[in-house]
Amino acid sequence: MLNFLILLILFAIFLSFIRFIKGPHLTDRVVAFDTMGIIAVSLLVLLSVTVKDSIYLDVAFVFAVIGFIGTIIFARFNVAKDSDA
């Protein structure tokens, strides 16, 4: 049952990766990256139950922090480049 759920979440990561590849603008790619980060956090949380190792929860927390900071930096960079030009 848990293996099937992990495959389902991997399928969700694959679908949002398609949007990450073919998004027309930079903002579409950043939205897809943010969603991929959140889905990967829940995948790591499920993996920590399956493998029975709680180090995956720390990895998931670091993943969430990095995704948040990356999203904010890309959004601010997008606006700042627009106002300079």
Partner: protein, 104 residues
Amino acid sequence: MLNVIGLILITPGATLLVISAIGLLRMPDTITRMHAGTKASTLGSLLVIMGVAFLEPTLWFKLLFLALFILITNPLSSSILARSTYLKHGFFNMSGMDDLKDNR
């Protein structure tokens, strides 16, 4: 008993994550894609984390910390993304309302 409750919570969470990824592919505009991609995935990941807390009750503190972090930072980042999208591209405006027009 706890295993059954955990699986009952995790299964709709994973389904919501897949639904949010499908909405990310099918929606026509950046703002509507953000509507599918941030709200549904927030609820899905919170349901998965709650289900895992029922499966492994000894890990509840780390899971609570992770859930609080996602609950705080995810609306914040989506708000900043929506502002940046509005300033860069505008949006698909059918209603004629645009309250942020003066700050552009």
